[in-house]
């Protein structure tokens, strides 16, 4: 087997063996099932609260509470938190080895440092894909099974748009695709931070802190941050939601995906450079 693929296989085995790798799947399953149960029991009250503003003049014809809406709500709620679950595993990829003292052993193998770091990144990417697939499967599959299908009402704070049932599925797949790119960025960021650290906690907490800080800056509607917001990667990580606008903002999506890919490239290059220069003897 090619040394890179051998290293990738080993990295995947390491991820599988770590108990923390399961945490993401357990948390996602628990949250999705809880949301679905809550909506199954009392979803109409939630919908009623949202629609009451215009119900004096209009009434809504059709089934608003359906699987597509539940999936959309789950994605909106969870995609903010999934990066934290990703960082929990990918932030440990290099620093975990350093903490356990296996980094020198790893370096003694006949494989280039760049290949090691790429194998770790690819293993992290596969884990991220698995987690996102599980999220999509539970959020969409389970919701459609429980609530049935129908038109999707995309709720916003100052309005809503209705997407026809046959126009929804591809949007979910495209949104998950863009969300995957966004999560790869987290993978690359935590890997870079992991290179600098000798313990697992540091890069995980640092990644979470950066995400939280950027999200707060991006969420606060203060004019001071208006100019900063476009440069924060967390702003572009939310681009998956653009797929649910009635007229697709193609240019905005292209810009955001490009920014995300550029971030991944820069962070990964930095990780490669730093790992190649890393002193493992002292």
């Amino acid at each position: 087997m090619h040394p890179f693929f051998a290293a990738l296989y080993t990295e995947l085995l390491k991820i599988r063996a770590r108990p923390r790798s399961i945490i993401g799947f357990v948390v996602i399953t628990a949250i999705i099932v809880l949301i679905q149960l809550a909506f199954y029991a009392d979803g109409s009250a939630y919908i009623g609260f949202i629609t009451q503003q215009f119900e004096s003049s209009f009434y809504i014809q059709g089934t608003v509470l359906n699987g597509n809406l539940i999936c959309f709500i789950i994605l909106q709620t969870l995609i903010i938190h999934v990066p934290l679950l990703i960082a929990l595993v990918t932030g440990d990829l290099v620093s975990g080895e350093a903490a356990m003292g296996t980094l020198r052993l790893l370096m003694s193998k006949p494989i280039a440092r760049s290949q090691i770091i790429m194998a770790k990144f690819c293993a992290g990417a596969i884990y991220t894909g698995g987690l996102l697939f599980w999220l999509g499967f539970l959020a969409l599959g389970n919701s459609l099974l429980l609530f049935g299908t129908g038109d999707l009402i995309v709720l916003g704070s100052d309005g809503f748009n209705v997407l026809q049932q046959q126009d929804v599925l591809w949007r979910f797949f495209a949104a998950l695709g863009v969300a995957y790119i966004a999560l790869l960025l987290i993978c690359a960021l935590s890997l870079l931070l992991s290179v600098f650290s000798e313990n697992s906690i540091g890069p995980i907490v640092s990644t979470m802190a950066i995400i939280i800080l950027f999200t707060i800056i991006g969420t606060l509607e203060v004019p001071l941050f208006d100019n900063v917001r476009p440069f924060l990667f967390t702003t572009h990580m939310a681009t998956w939601r653009s797929f649910f606008e009635s007229s697709l903002p193609v240019n905005q999506i292209i810009v955001s995906v490009t920014v995300l890919l550029a971030h991944i490239l820069v962070l990964l290059s930095a990780a490669l450079y730093c790992f190649n220069k890393k002193d493992i003897l002292s």
């Binding site: 004096s56 089934t63 916003g156 704070s157 809503f160 209705v162 026809q164």
Partner: protein, 226 residues
């Protein structure tokens, strides 16, 4: 002198009574036309133009049975006016529930029409005033304006096609007062929405109903109203 004044007064009262009778006759003509409809079904295309809602035109099938059973069947989500599109016909059908004021002939979109105002007698009625622009020649409502206690003013413009003998419209364009829509970002899970809300957004919304394939007084599907 007093005699002349009394004659003039009587003439005025007489003219008012005759005009009111004219208006009542017009409403009666419309009532008679619609009473011929025992039931109907039709396809309807709903086009919504409201500042806070983006909805593509949707289709539905509507079923109606006298006096007030109505069912709209559609798999799509659509916004419909709360007033309902048979409300005006329902109001004028109950002639004992309102007072008619004939406001004479006026022009509407370059055509002469009869303007009739309806004042509900019951204090509990949500409708404060209804104005009807009636094509006296065809005996059809061409426009209505309903002022309600709860929903402001709702205007409806009617156009007719092949079903004028039943007073069934081919299209109705509702113009409705729209309040600003705002829900907390956290509730909508829309925390990354940085777009400035459109303060100049129109406070009028329109809903256009385009009817086709009327089937009047034919057997409706069983249990359709359940």
């Amino acid at each position: 002198m007093i005699k002349r004044f009394i004659v003039a007064l009587l003439l005025c009262i007489g003219a008012e009574v005759i005009q009111a009778q004219d208006a009542s006759t017009l409403l009666n003509t419309i009532n008679q036309k619609f009473k011929q409809v025992n039931n109907y079904s039709a396809n309807v295309q709903v086009t919504t133009t409201i500042s806070f809602a983006k909805i593509a035109p949707q289709t539905a099938t509507i079923y109606y049975q006298q006096p007030d059973r109505i069912k709209i069947k559609s798999k799509s989500i659509m916004l419909l006016p709360k007033q309902g599109f048979d409300k005006i016909l329902k109001i004028i059908a109950n002639t004992a529930a309102y007072t008619v004021i004939d406001q004479g002939k006026v022009e509407l979109a370059g055509k002469p029409v009869h303007l009739v105002s309806i004042l509900p007698l019951a204090d509990t009625s949500d409708i404060v005033l209804a104005k009807l622009w009636i094509d006296a020649q065809k005996g059809l409502i061409t426009q209505s304006q309903t002022t309600t206690k709860s929903n402001g003013t709702i205007t409806a413009v009617y156009t007719y096609g092949n079903w004028t003998r039943y007073a069934l419209p081919e299209s109705i364009v509702f113009s409705i007062d729209v309040k600003k829509y705002k829900i907390p970002k956290a509730l909508a899970a829309d925390i990354n929405n940085y777009k400035k809300s459109n303060e100049k957004a129109s406070n009028k919304g329109t809903i256009t109903l385009q009817f086709s394939n009327y089937l009047v007084n034919k057997q409706l599907p069983a249990n359709i109203f359940k």
